[in-house]
Amino acid sequence: MHPFSYTRASDTREALNAGRDGGRYIAGGTTLVDLMRETVERPETLVDITALPLGEITVTERGGLRIGALVTMSEAAAHAKVRTLYPVVSEALELSASAQLRNMATIGGNIMQRTRCTYFRDVTADCNKREPGSGCAALHGVNRTHAILGTSDACVATHPSDAAVAFAALEARVHLLGPDGTRQVPFVDFLLRPGSTPHREQALRSGELITAVQIPPLPRPLRSGYLKVRDRQSYEFALTSAAVALHVRGGVIREARVAAGGVGTVPWKLPAVEQHLVGERPSGALWSAAAAKAADGARPLQHNRFKVELLKRTVERQLRVVGGTE
């Protein structure tokens, strides 16, 4: 680990000042410290933001939720409102990492999580995300766990977060605070596809701080849930996953929110699946037909071809589970 200086920010103003001066914010630290130890990350200054007042979960008007950036994953998952209003969020959180890591990691840090691509994590390998212009070792390397959607020739790394898949599905907004004030960014615009600049991962401006993730209200009753498919039954990143939320009234699907994880360079919103569902009556045939569109546009690699089929089946399964017509 390279040496770094360390400061504790006691309020947002102090944090922003330190951030403006090039400081790197640290909250739970579970990704950052790990990557610093691998020398993938080499910040000169760490700005500890845990003292900032960003640890609240509040119900917004009409039943949306605002989750403070410093709420830990375990706090968010256990929160009564999260559990009752958006089970898909608490399930995604509880299927992530381990109890210990969830006690440390925060919501803000979780969506900032960096990829688990083995070549990214190994500083002796070529990686455009880590070392722009060095090449992508994964493209023709060992890529079983890599992305099939949203990839480019420069990068095929998956975004590892489960919670971000739920947030993407629910069309959450990321609240940001920067030197120029506050702003909100839709989740789909917050995490960036690699394109030719895979080292740019978030739509964050210099020194900007995530203050909260806000889930917009959705009509009730809303049924939602998260399915994570992996080799091991726990403590593993997803091969594929699906976040599904459905609002069914009068026997007809009025609203559908669907996103997939483990398959995209960013959490993969599935508008074609959603559109196929809205206005239809739940049925096994509907789920199959909708899920058949889940892998549209997929570009599989040598070792992850199976993800194309697995993704469709994962989405179909979770539509059945949430839709209740299994």
Partner: protein, 216 residues
């Protein structure tokens, strides 16, 4: 049915001949600042530097910070290299080697300790960030000779073999019980999955946690 033996009558050897040639506690331990506990508060003003040996001239020392934290009820005030993890602080500087380093990357749970009552991975926790924190390690669970019920349950159920993941399992189990994730064997399995046991003692770990939770 089973008989528990109090303790290995003589500890295994760590040095030559009958008497150990291994030194006593590392020298800096003797000088580390202990405030509260059995030591009179305020008896030592300065902290102890744990950053670099005698070769490192003060001016060249890596960035370091002062931090005061409580470990197993003993308050300690230290100057640490900013890079030092809580796990390395415990193992390399405080002589508390019960917390284990299995992967140093948050992927095995052998380093699990309680920080302010929550189970966390000490390997991913920078010590410098623990200002005012209360840390409990495996060494802090027993009350004198009286083992924590989960420690006793691990012995009774034979919930370990090599013993290396065991401190992390036990501390994690204490956390799991406090959190209330012990409603069924399935729930315990999931919530204890952050602690890998390569000897494969999971069935008995679940029994030990369940039994202890049930006693509460």
């Amino acid at each position: 049915m089973s008989t528990e033996l109090p303790e290995l009558a003589a500890p295994p050897p760590t040095g030559a001949g009958g008497s150990s040639p291994a030194p006593t506690r590392r020298t800096f331990i003797a000088t580390s600042t202990v405030v509260g506990g059995a030591v009179v508060a305020g008896s030592v003003v300065g902290g102890t530097s744990l950053i670099g040996g005698e070769e490192a001239a003060a001016a060249e020392r890596p960035p370091s910070s002062r931090v005061s934290l409580t470990v197993n009820g003993t308050r300690r005030s230290l100057t640490v290299d900013n890079r030092t993890s809580l796990l390395d602080l415990l193992r390399e500087h405080l002589g508390l080697t019960g917390s284990k380093k299995g992967c140093n990357a948050g992927a095995c749970g052998a380093c699990t300790v309680l920080v302010d009552g929550h189970r966390v991975n000490a390997c991913l926790t920078l010590a410098v960030r623990l200002e005012g924190a209360e840390v409990t390690t495996i060494e802090g669970l027993a009350e004198g000779e009286q083992l924590h019920p989960l420690q006793q349950a691990f012995i009774d159920e034979d919930a370990f073999q090599c013993g290396y993941c065991t401190p992390g399992q036990i501390v994690s189990g204490v956390g799991c019980i406090q959190e209330g994730h012990t409603g069924s064997p399935e729930e315990i399995r999931e919530w204890m999955s952050g602690n890998i046991c390569r000897c494969g003692c999971y069935v008995k770990i679940v029994r030990a946690v369940r039994q202890t939770a049930g006693r509460k």
